[in-house]
């Protein structure tokens, strides 16, 4: 009797399936064999992975009041869909969920609530107030496709509320004060961003935010910033050396003696050599360019726009720095600038402009902060697509071999 093994397609005349676990992957793979003469001569098998999905983890670090939530809204908008708090759960939850992304606020991993911190005389910036072990375990679990019960830190009451269930998303963004502080969590991040706001700009933004609150005065805002500064410099600021992209916001150089802080100089510092991340450049990669687009083809109003691009070293890494000083007044300035930047990872001409216009009411939509946040959003989308494509081809290669 002819014994035909199960691996031969000719022997079977109906669908059979066989589960095997290849040594490398952690996912179950189901092989379907089918003999269908009327169809094409396909010799290889259809592999369906009912897998642990590949979650991409992005880290975003910044001090409070520095535009993290604006960045989050722009980022989720690049992927499509609006991000909202989980429906039916705690209304004071800090988590945002959209189709593709879930944003987790790292304040949820505080080990001490507000009264606990007051008793010990410790700020939220201090690592003693945060549970890094739990943070690492849960981020690792979500990255491997396991749902977790994440605690909730209620910013209104200052207490730790009952945990909420978080399903593993396609893209997980962890934003807060310490995403890159713990080394184990840092290893899990596929891409990390740090928002570095200079002291003058921080002061101006906090004044804008807090002057409407009764009880606040210029002195109290200043005192609050000064009091937090030592902890900030000791614990939060050093994280910028680990970031793959740093968005640095400084006062403008175009207006001498400007202290209004309306016009900003923004630098996008991009680390070289990061996997799946190719830095944006102006005209010629690796060269030093200084560009003022306003002239004969484009008329800008005061103070105009100035771009700079150069290679540099940042904390002993090779980086490329793209800098924009000034602000956009009109749509055609924006599209003109976009058409001259290269390696934007946009899917069509004018995508950056379209994204900026979609959120024209967000702060920073007329200057480098909005522009660079949008560009970083597109870069993250590109990184995600490359990572997924890479992970999808790897099991297919193993099956064919």
């Amino acid at each position: 009797m002819a014994v035909s093994t199960i691996y031969s397609t000719q022997a079977l005349n109906s669908t059979h399936f066989l589960t095997s676990s290849p040594s490398s992957s952690t996912s179950k793979q189901v092989f379907f064999y089918r003999r269908h003469q009327s169809q094409t001569n396909r010799r290889f098998n259809t592999i369906i992975t009912c897998a642990a999905q590949q979650t991409v983890v992005i880290g975003l670090a910044a001090d409070s009041g520095c535009g993290k939530s604006t960045f989050m809204r722009r980022l989720t908008s690049v992927f499509g869909g609006a991000a909202e708090p989980p429906k039916g759960g705690n209304p004071d939850s800090n988590t945002l969920i959209s189709d593709m992304t879930t944003v987790i606020c790292l304040d949820d991993y505080h080990s001490l609530d507000r009264t606990g911190r007051k008793e010990k005389g410790v700020t939220a910036l201090d690592p003693r107030a945060n549970d890094f072990d739990l943070m690492y375990e849960q981020v690792k679990a979500l990255k491997s496709g396991i749902a977790v019960e994440k605690p909730i830190y209620n910013h209104v009451t200052g207490l730790l509320d009952a945990p909420e269930l978080i399903q593993p998303p396609k893209i997980l963004v962890i934003e807060g004060l310490h995403p890159m502080f713990d080394e184990r969590v840092r290893e899990l991040l596929d891409f990390s961003i740090y928002l570095d706001i200079s002291n003058e700009v921080k002061f101006a933004w906090k004044i804008q935010r807090d002057m409407a609150e009764r009880g606040h005065s210029l002195e109290s805002i200043k005192a609050s910033i000064e009091a937090r500064k030592p902890d900030f410099d000791a614990f939060i600021d050093p994280q910028k050396q680990y970031a793959d992209a740093v968005i640095e916001v400084l006062p403008t150089q175009l207006i001498p003696d400007d202290n209004e802080g309306k016009v900003l100089r923004v630098r996008l510092i991009m680390k070289e050599g990061v996997k799946y991340f190719s830095p944006v450049y102006l005209f010629d990669e690796g060269s030093t360019i200084s560009w003022i687009p306003c002239g004969r083809k484009l008329t800008c109003s005061y103070p105009g726009i100035k771009f700079n691009y150069e290679p540099d070293t940042y904390f002993d890494h090779e980086v490329s720095v793209l800098e924009m000083d000034g602000q956009f007044d009109r749509l055609d300035e924006l599209i003109y600038v976009e058409s001259h930047l290269s390696n934007l990872s946009s899917k069509f001409y004018g995508e950056v402009t379209q994204q900026m216009l979609k959120h024209a009411d967000f702060p920073g939509s007329n200057n480098g902060t909005g522009l660079f946040q949008t560009i970083v959003g597109l870069k993250i989308r590109d990184l995600y697509e490359q990572l997924i494509a890479n992970k999808a081809t790897a099991p297919a290669e193993a099956a064919k071999a």
């Binding site: 007051k118 005389g121 910036l125 209104v156 807090d210 609150e213 009880g215 606040h216 005192a223 937090r228």
Partner: protein
């Protein structure tokens, strides 16, 4: 089907028969004080709508006063720093609450449409 019976839910239970109590005298007496029973409820509901923003604003104000007091004793102690950190946290929460109120809440149609964009009232045709 069978599972419902298994859980003990017996639909066929006869309802308890309650004899109506004679309330001939109490009804007219109530009508003399209509404000006592209806208006208080309405007041509670309107206060609830704006209270969250006010609660946080009050907290911000209180925390600033506390921080000033704590720091008057010792400006470099951990307590002083923690107090100003609390002020910062509450100010951030207040500004988020203000943004949320500005974004949602004001227009009931917007609120409904953000939850149900596929309904007829909310469909937009851009192109």
């Amino acid at each position: 089907m069978t599972s419902i019976a298994a859980t003990g839910l017996n639909v066929a239970t006869p309802r308890a028969f309650v004899r109506p109590v004679v309330t001939s005298l109490s009804a007219p007496v109530r009508l003399n004080y209509p404000w006592k029973f209806s208006s208080t409820k309405r007041m509670v509901m309107s206060v609830k709508a704006t209270s969250e923003g006010e609660i946080i604003s009050d907290k911000v104000e209180k925390s600033i006063q506390e921080a000033k007091e704590t720091c008057a004793d010792d400006p470099v102690s951990g307590e002083c720093v923690a107090a100003w950190d609390e002020v910062e946290e509450l100010s951030a929460a207040a500004s988020h609450a203000r943004d949320k109120k500005k974004a949602g809440g004001s227009d009931p149609l917007e609120e409904y449409c953000s939850d149900n964009p596929e309904t007829d009232e909310c469909r937009t045709y851009d192109n």
